[in-house]
């Protein structure tokens, strides 16, 4: 189903606009440690990171990496309120200073309860290495212009 109706077409195979963060902030990991009540020092204490043999850059919280993919879906769909679900596997670490890119492709459209839902394959990459991958479902009724 491809419906233009003066709006962006959405169909299986549609490539979503990439979302990029040029450099993950180490400072913001400290804020997130408080938001998540996450005491793991690998996110904020460089001495601990070094003692654990994990290099000299802090490790980004996994939920932050998930949020970057959510941001990509929101920019594409017009807001966070359109996200219906997301399932991901954490496959690698993102470190302070890394450039991350979230990207995705629509794998199919389906009708459900008077809505048009787009199932998407999504991933987050650092230097073309996939650090998070999975699927997401977004309500795109407003993009297709069709209330079923």
């Amino acid at each position: 189903m491809t419906v233009t109706n003066g709006r962006p077409a959405v169909d299986a195979g549609t490539v979503l606009p990439e979302w990029e963060l040029p450099a993950v902030s180490a400072e913001k990991m400290k804020t997130m440690a408080l938001v998540l009540a996450d005491p793991n020092p690998i996110h904020f204490d460089l001495d601990s990171v070094r003692e654990l043999g994990m290099g000299d850059r802090p490790v980004n919280q996994g939920p932050n990496n998930l949020a970057y993919v959510m941001n990509m879906l929101a920019v594409w769909s017009g807001g966070h309120e359109h996200l219906r679900g997301i399932r991901v596997r954490f496959r690698g670490n993102v470190l302070g200073g890394d450039r991350v890119v979230a990207r995705g492709t629509v794998s199919g459209l389906r009708d459900e309860a008077e809505c048009v839902l787009a199932d998407c394959d999504v991933e987050l990459v650092v230097d073309e290495k996939v650090v998070l991958a999975g699927t997401a479902t977004v309500d795109v009724t407003h993009l297709t212009g069709s209330a079923q």
Binding site: M70, G79, H80
Partner: protein
């Protein structure tokens, strides 16, 4: 000593102590700043489904690991995460958090050795008693002694 397989199976159905979580406007501001997302002010970032269950459950990560017969020193790793949203989460809303362990499976890998994958689901319920969101997480526990 590592859990036996029968002890592992008995984890399934164990409730996870829950509490409540409010999406405070200042925390919404901070979280959106952290993850580089424009702030809506009305609709909360969907990551709050994860944050609400992580903070709103009243058992610590160490306590959760203990139920699974492990500690942080065993090197548990996040496996999968799923968020299902019935509707958008709103800034200022308060949710009740509750859930249980739903799966526990022992696996053996040639390179990784024995490890267990334990899954749990936590839900957010609004003040009217409606389920707003649910999250699933799986944690991988290396079982070097098994």
């Amino acid at each position: 000593m590592a859990m036996t397989e029968s002890e592992l199976a008995a984890i399934v159905g164990t409730p996870i102590p829950g509490g409540s979580y409010t999406v405070e406007p200042y925390v919404d501001w901070l979280l959106n700043d952290v993850v580089e997302s424009p702030r809506d002010g009305r609709v909360a970032h969907p990551l709050f489904a994860y944050v609400a269950v992580a903070v709103g459950k009243t058992v610590s990560w160490d306590g959760l690991f203990e139920i699974c017969g492990a500690t942080a020193d065993d090197g548990p790793m996040f496996g999968e995460h799923e968020t299902v949203l019935e509707r958008p989460l709103l800034v200022g809303e308060t949710f009740t958090v509750g859930g249980e362990f739903i799966s526990a499976e022992r696996k053996r890998g040639q390179r990784t050795g024995v490890f267990d994958i334990v899954g749990f689901r936590l839900s957010l319920t609004d003040v009217d008693g409606a389920t707003v969101a649910s999250t699933y997480n799986s944690i991988v526990f290396p079982r070097r002694g098994a």
